[in-house]
Symmetry: C2
Subunit: 164 residues, 2 copies
């Protein structure tokens, strides 16, 4: 039950993109460098976000990554699912089917233990689904203050992306 650190990277990357002008893009090297992360590995996560439909990529000179839809329509769950997969965390092995009591009671009925964990996960996901990248970017931007936001815009311009 550990969240992969790639999820943290991916959310931060999406938050940066959401802080640019709508439709603006940055390449993998820039997104990695903003947080001083290894570019090669960050690129792999960005590819996963593209496969999941969270980001869109443009190849060739002056290419890069941009959000595939509006920041308000991208949830934290979308990002986590892109990196870790959307399958259940609790994978019921149905060990109840083995042993002296197997065969008693309808085996079609779901395992009560698995149900409990699946429901708990549903609540986890529901909370992340309710939080958008737009919200995150707004909160982070507010904490940065005017000077920090200005610094961010300068950085984006240097990297060839149009600031918000």
């Amino acid at each position: 039950m550990k969240t992969l650190e790639g999820v943290e990277w991916a959310v931060h990357a999406c938050a940066v993109l959401a802080g640019l002008a709508p439709g603006a893009s940055l390449n993998a090297a820039a997104l990695a460098d903003f947080h001083r992360l290894p570019a090669a590995y960050m690129a792999k996560h960005l590819q996963a976000l593209v496969r999941a439909g969270v980001l869109a990529a443009s190849r060739g000179g002056r290419g890069g990554y941009r959000l595939a839809r509006r920041p308000a329509d991208i949830s934290l769950w979308d990002i986590q699912a892109a990196i870790e997969g959307s399958g259940p965390s609790f994978r019921c092995q149905d060990i109840r089917r083995e042993g002296p009591c197997s065969g008693f009671g309808p085996s079609e009925l779901p395992c009560d233990i698995a149900c409990a964990f699946v429901e708990a996960e549903a609540r986890y996901r529901a909370h992340l689904k309710a939080i958008s990248v737009a919200q995150i970017t707004r909160q982070v931007g507010a904490k940065l203050g005017p000077e920090g936001r200005s610094r961010f815009n300068d950085w984006a311009s240097e990297r060839g992306a149009k600031p918000a």
Copy 2:
């Protein structure tokens, strides 16, 4: 974000113990054999449950594991925490501290991204905390039916544990 399979084993083991007479115990070999699981590895998980105060162990001949408190007072979260630890799943690396915008805004304030994930985890845990081993055992027992419950009691007796 994968739940360790040991959690499933541990919950099933606790559910079995909760189906016995109050205070009755079973050894690691018996608890593993009930679901046809490797005894040596099951024993390791049972030890973790003891360290967490969920189970109590007795050594020597006729020893074994028993619930450390009433089934109604043991939650699924207690068991998961015993196996996986109670620390947060999302471990914020504070990567926001690096890069061109570091130092802007009060660094003492928590990272909004980490907060969102921590809150989602809290909802996950809250649901598991609300479900007791007693509930699980009741549901599983109901599904087993009279014949299945009788089979379970016979098995427990063979293994030297007093049935409920």
